[in-house]
Symmetry: C2
Subunit: 431 residues, 2 copies
């Protein structure tokens, strides 16, 4: 395909869905991608562009001539345009905006004026609204007139004479009602609006929680200014969950299509943090050099205690981070959860203490070694449960993303406590 | 509120959305929950029930009298009913099914006959279809007749005379077209159907990927039998992402509302696996007992090498597991990704080797110790990159969930390689 044959390429790609083309571009390696883009310059349309991974999008945008870019952008909905232009430099942004029709341009500029993670920034301005006093027939006639409708819409939002949003009618309901029915009489029971300044993640979660299809966004005067649609909310939540996962593993914003240099740089900070914490833990071991030199078995067993603590801590931590993200862990139940985690740590600690105590005693033929490893195991697993829950909760209270920072803290705690408890007890009771 | 006052309770809960009531039930502790359910028996409706967390749902279901259960179930869509009854025992299932109207009953039984994770099991049978030769007017008149329509629908699916699904019309398009227009002329360009036996996760991913609102599900003869809606797909993907996250951390199916006993049991297997792998790693240390007793500094530094490897491995692993789940990591790019991960490991390995080499040499005043720790670091980080990518890929090929099992394998590899490389090199070059 990469044999420089534009026509064949066009013929092949024509029937393919933009999302698949974007996926294809993401999968090939960097050199092929460049060749492909040079060759297929005209082919990229707006939808393909907005389906692309963020990092690649920049690459592709740069490869486009400004006039192509403008054409590309014109058939997108306002939220997708915002998404595209927000990271362009001023000059390019200006060029794209100039290419838009006046009302679209106003909508995009308006959206860009809201803060980055707000509902206002992510809403689309294309929506259908109607006065609440209209009848079903009037609404249908209005839509059949030459008014411009969004590509996809599923509700009509009802407004009062001062353009305040008061409710919505589903198209299904509209279609199945006689022409004379008033719109306000077939309004759905529950109607929720979201303020432009509200966090878009909250809106996405509400869409998921209440099974909404579109979330109406209103300004300070309760006037409807846009909607956030369920497919955007879905993509958004998917992204958030992925981010949490990657952050927990210390990978930050990583994506499979990043190059070696980019990936190395992303992973570096977390490894650096881990080096510092590992050195801290090693310094604890260093305190007991004499103890270890008298009984080398301690060096053999000590990583087991630390590792079990680290694992138990990660378990508690992951549940807590996830629960904070989904708002399941709140002030109302935080103490109960902490108590539970400590108790779970205690029970599992006792079970593994017995197992490990026997192994330790038998392996090295020193019963006291068994007691010490058992006691250290119980201590470390209880601490793991406590730290695994409390650290993310505290970080969240301090407005630090718990997914990003908890891991390092929790394993530092469990390593230090594990080594200290085990070697300390050994120093006291074994020597 | 728990003062046994049913009327107040009803008055308070009446205006609250079922999803919020479910959330409330999940948040209170086990005893309050039991009291609440006894008190508020009649209040639980179908929607609240299907919003509840799976484990709690069973508890609530058991607290309901069969006749209440039947009432509750009657106003649910078929996919929600299936979701409720699939885990009931035969007797209870029979009672619920008996309470349904005949066509609903058939739909539910049909769905239950499909495998657990299939599209057929999760689809709802409520949908609106129309012959493709109808006009817009005919379709609207049909919907205004006394036919029973689903609560929510956004498309009309067009079928040919043999009931084969051929396309769909959005309600927005329908509403904005003149009455005389043929439905087939306003059909959307792209139309995808999914087979009943297809994996529901694939369908959910397609919904997300192609921004679909509903996915039509067809049987062997291409006849439409149901749809999967975007809100269900959204909930489903959210659940899958959460499961991956929890599995990676070795927490399995955990939920915040589980009790101590349940939680302890869920966490136990992973800790047990970790104990085994930690003991394996310790046995590697055991091989070098003599080496350590000659130079205790080794015991101090060895956890650092293992810990850095474990972290780097977890980074590669998390990216790989996620990429497998989202189908971004495929046969087409697997070798490229593995090469990249190894290279990233090499580069970061060299950087941290230099840092750690200097620290090791200065800390203990033995330059050779610095060389050894540096070399072990490079080896372990390269292996971490390789193992972190290859292990999940191989597990996936073997049809084992990579999220569930990779973590244990990868950290075992990095622990063993870390200890072996460091202590082995030390034994050769230092003594």
């Amino acid at each position: 395909v990469q044999a420089q044959d534009v026509d064949t390429l066009n013929a092949i790609l024509e029937p393919i869905h933009p999302a698949d083309i974007a996926h294809l571009i993401e999968q090939v390696d960097a050199r092929d991608r460049r060749d492909f883009l040079t060759l297929w310059k005209g082919g990229i349309d707006g939808e393909t562009l907005s389906e692309l991974d963020e990092n690649l999008r920049e690459e592709v945008l740069e490869s486009l001539a400004p006039e192509d870019l403008a054409t590309v952008v014109r058939d997108l909905e306002s939220d997708d345009v915002v998404d595209l232009v927000e990271y362009l430099d001023e000059d390019q942004q200006e060029q794209v905006l100039d290419a838009l029709a006046a009302p679209d341009r106003v909508a995009v500029e308006q959206a860009l004026s809201y803060p980055e993670e707000s509902a206002g920034r992510h809403m689309q301005s294309e929506l259908v609204r109607a006065p609440e006093h209209w009848s079903v027939g009037e609404a249908i006639d209005y839509m059949r007139s030459d008014v411009i409708l969004p590509d996809q819409f599923y509700h009509i939002i009802l407004v009062d004479p001062r353009l305040k949003a008061v409710g919505y009618v589903t198209l299904g309901r509209l279609l199945s009602s006689p022409r004379a029915t008033r719109l306000r009489d077939i309004m759905e029971d529950s109607f929720r609006t979201f303020h432009v300044a509200q966090d878009v993640e909250e809106v996405a979660q509400a869409i998921n929680h209440y099974h909404m299809i579109t979330a109406p966004v209103v300004d300070d005067d309760d006037r409807i200014v846009g909607v956030i649609t369920i497919d955007d909310a879905m993509a958004f939540l998917e992204e958030e969950a992925e981010e949490d996962l990657l952050r927990l593993a210390g990978v930050g914003e990583g994506s499979l299509s990043d190059g070696v240099r980019e990936t190395t740089r992303q992973r570096f900070p977390w490894l650096a943090v881990n080096l510092v914490t590992a050195i801290l833990a090693s310094m604890v071991i260093g305190l007991f050099e004499n103890t270890i030199s008298e009984l080398v078995a301690l060096a053999v067993l000590m990583p087991i205690v630390a590792s079990m603590g680290g694992n138990a801590g990660t378990q508690s931590l992951t549940v807590a981070v996830r629960a904070i993200a989904t708002r399941d862990l709140t002030g109302a139940n935080v103490w109960r959860v902490i108590r539970k985690e400590a108790l779970v740590g205690l029970i599992n600690g006792i079970v593994f203490a017995v197992v490990m105590g026997v192994i330790g005693a038998v392996w090295f033929g020193i019963p006291q070694l068994g007691y010490v490893v058992a006691a250290a195991m119980v201590v470390n697993l209880v601490i793991a449960g406590l730290a695994g829950t409390m650290i993310p909760v505290v970080l969240d209270k301090l407005k630090v993303d718990p997914a990003l920072a908890s891991g390092a803290f929790v394993t530092t705690v469990t390593d230090i406590v594990g080594f200290f408890a085990f070697l300390g007890l050994a120093a006291i009771y074994l020597l």
